[in-house]
Amino acid sequence: MASFLEFRQVTVAFGDYVAVEGVSLALAPGAFVSLVGPTGCGKSTLLNVAAGLLAPSRGEVLLEGRPLKGLNPVAGYLFQQDAILPWKTALDNVALPLVFRGVPWGEARERARVWLEKVGLGRFLRHYPHQLSGGMRKRVGLAQVLIAGPKLLLMDEPFSALDIQTRQLMENELLRLWQEDRKTVLFVTHDLEEAIALSDRVVVMSAGPRSRPIGDFPIPLPRPRDVAEIRLTPEFLRLHREIWELLRGEVLRAHAGA
Amino acid sequence: GVGGKTAVVYLPLTVVERLGYFKEEGLDVVIQDLQAGSRALQALVGGSVEVVMGYYDHTIQMQAQGRDIVAFVEVGRYPAIVLGVRSDLADQVRTIADLKGKRVGITAPGSSTHFFLNYLLVKAGLKPTDVSVIGVSVGAQAVAAVQNKQVDAISNVEPAITLLEERGLIKVLADTRTTKGTREVLGGEYPAAVLYTTRAWLEKNPDTAQKLANAMVRGLRWMQGKRPEEIAAILPEEYFLGDKDLYLKVLKNSLESFSPTGRFSDTAPLRPLTVLSAFDERVKRARIDLKRTYTNQFVDRVPIR
């Protein structure tokens, strides 16, 4: 099967500093792949490359077999930092992607309301971003990205600002959506349990500089999953231990190097 | 168009307007105030105005540039420019020759006041470069310049001159507001404020030109022999809001300089040419045909009433 998104020997350098080097990674259509690695190793950088926001210094990215030039037209990207529009209310922020697609404001707002209720913000439709808490803003961003139904989903620590319970609700919602129309997902997280519970594959990055994937673990857990329950299965614990061993060494190396 | 409607040298224009003579001639005149003679001329060349009340000098300068500008009514027969020296220097500077090395205020570089000064200097045996000139504009700024001792002498026009005299700030060295003064300084009549326009316009609108001439000459005749108070009575109130007594004095000092007939004498236009060709490169180089710069054809046809 041809891959949906493929990194081919991608190297990104900022001046002298080579953040990632020779990254090759192929995502099958409909795959849910998590990217974990020590802080500062270049995960966000890779997502930026995949979104077409950053051209690699060497190598290339293929989208459905064709080299990606400029912005990735099928990607939805939930940034690590807040990127929603500060001058629009939560409702308008979420309605915006639909408006961009030509949906009239009235209908777009109607559909946005539904999405905001899904992420638990039904009571904060008219709030501006600065009137929302950190976790709320993240969820507005999530709704904004999901409402447009992108074929490729790039998510950079989407749930780290949420409490565990809300997080699990969101994770399950994400899985449900993904199951429905089988988007391809590239998911960055620091929470290894989250990575395993959600993904088909977990890719471990080495510590920077010159970071690259050093482990690629298929997660053969059955679907559909409930993220809370699956954490208790022995298979999960085995995988967790295995990946953790690798990751732990890497992080220690990162600190030794710094 | 007029360069500085409130300037005293252009007073007859306001008089005619207030007396309603334009209307009586069936003319609907809009007076555009352009603040400076040179800009009024430019507006004429550019076609924004049809007729200008301005200085006769300009018609000569324009001919030097190949423009056919014709004056058709003489309004001022003396230039009404005055050269005065600051009173506290009056002991040192008794004649124009004593101005050597001093700072002299003029209205603007290249203006008539500038040429007038240069002419006087040369006549007194100096070179124009023997003094340093400073543009001080007209009006309050000129007064401020003298009062603050920014300039030692000043070549300027009414009403600034009378005001300076009133305040005891200057002593007059050369005065071309009066017959006597002008004769002394320039040797005789010297067309100053005139109505001029392009020859093309004149040829296309002889009737309008005639009506303008009629109205202007009527106004000039009306002004003859009137006392300042009588003239002031018909002027808009704004003209002497600053200080009425002062304005009356200004009028008194200036009345003589207005032409009684509107006619150009045959010799008078020579004088501006002499002055100009002394200092304006292009006028000097060009061969000026004075006959083309003015015409009495309209004034001569003004009905005598």
Partner: protein, 258 residues
């Protein structure tokens, strides 16, 4: 309460200043020939309005000024946006814009008269050449300052250039543009008045020029007082619009009774 205190202070300052002025003028400490007297000025302004003679002039100046303001701002903003969004064009045109900004407009008066006649248009043109640059430079910089994150997010959400303009660049540059409006109002007035001052048959600038020609300092100052009152009124209007458009700002933290 606070508003009242401010008003009182303002009135007090004004009064004190006027009294000082009046006193200095009357006792000859400053020369009333140059500075007139506040009482005389007030009287004149009063008379102007009582007799109604100022209205036609005010009307003309208002028209000129509003046109200059609107047109200059519009052109400045459009041009600013254009150059900010087309860096190649900006690089080429940059020195020309700056050189043009250095032309003393007053010197161009004859050319304006030539092109636009002596009516309202030439004053508007003069005002526009002043207002334009203020609006232009601020819009340009405002667009350059847009948060790259928000911009990238909007682009990935599918915004077309027109959407970006409407939903990202303009709101982001809004506070820059409004700041320029504040400066512009003054320059629009200056353009109109100087234009009239240089050549016209009506308008406040004409009034002032006439007054100056006959050493009527009171008239000059009265003209300026009317101008100022007028600009303040206009500024209040801009302020209201600004508050409307920028509701989304956090200003100070709103909560509490601080």
């Amino acid at each position: 309460m606070r508003g009242l205190r401010v008003r009182l202070w303002q009135a007090g300052l004004l009064l004190g200043f006027l009294l000082l002025w009046e006193w200095a003028s009357r006792t000859g400490r400053i020369d009333p020939f140059f500075f007139s007297l506040p009482s005389a000025i007030a009287q004149r302004v009063w008379r102007w309005f009582a007799t109604g003679e100022v209205y036609p002039h005010l009307y003309i100046t208002t028209v000129e000024m509003l046109l200059a303001f609107a047109l200059g701002t519009l052109l400045g903003v459009v041009f600013g946006l254009w150059l900010a969004l087309a860096p190649a064009v900006a690089a080429v045109l940059d020195p020309y814009v700056k050189a043009l900004n250095a032309i003393p407009r007053v010197v161009l008066a004859p050319i304006f008269t030539l092109w636009f006649g002596l009516g309202v248009l030439s004053k508007v043109a003069l005002g526009v050449t002043l207002v334009f640059f203020v609006a232009f430079f601020n819009t340009y910089q405002g667009v350059k300052e847009v948060s790259p994150l928000v911009l990238q997010n909007a682009r990935l959400l599918g915004a077309k250039p027109s959407h970006l303009l409407r939903h990202v660049y303009l709101p982001a540059a809004a506070s820059w543009i409004f700041s320029s409006l504040r400066t512009s109002i003054g320059f629009a007035v200056i353009g109109a008045v100087v234009g009239e001052y240089l050549g016209s048959a009506a308008g406040l600038g004409y009034l002032i020029a006439q007054a100056e020609g006959v050493f009527d300092t009171t008239g000059v100052f009265a003209g300026m007082v009317v101008l100022m009152a007028f600009v303040l009124a206009l500024d209040a209007l801009v302020g209201t619009v600004e508050r409307r458009l920028l509701v989304w700002r956090s200003k100070e933290r709103e909560g509490g009774s601080a």
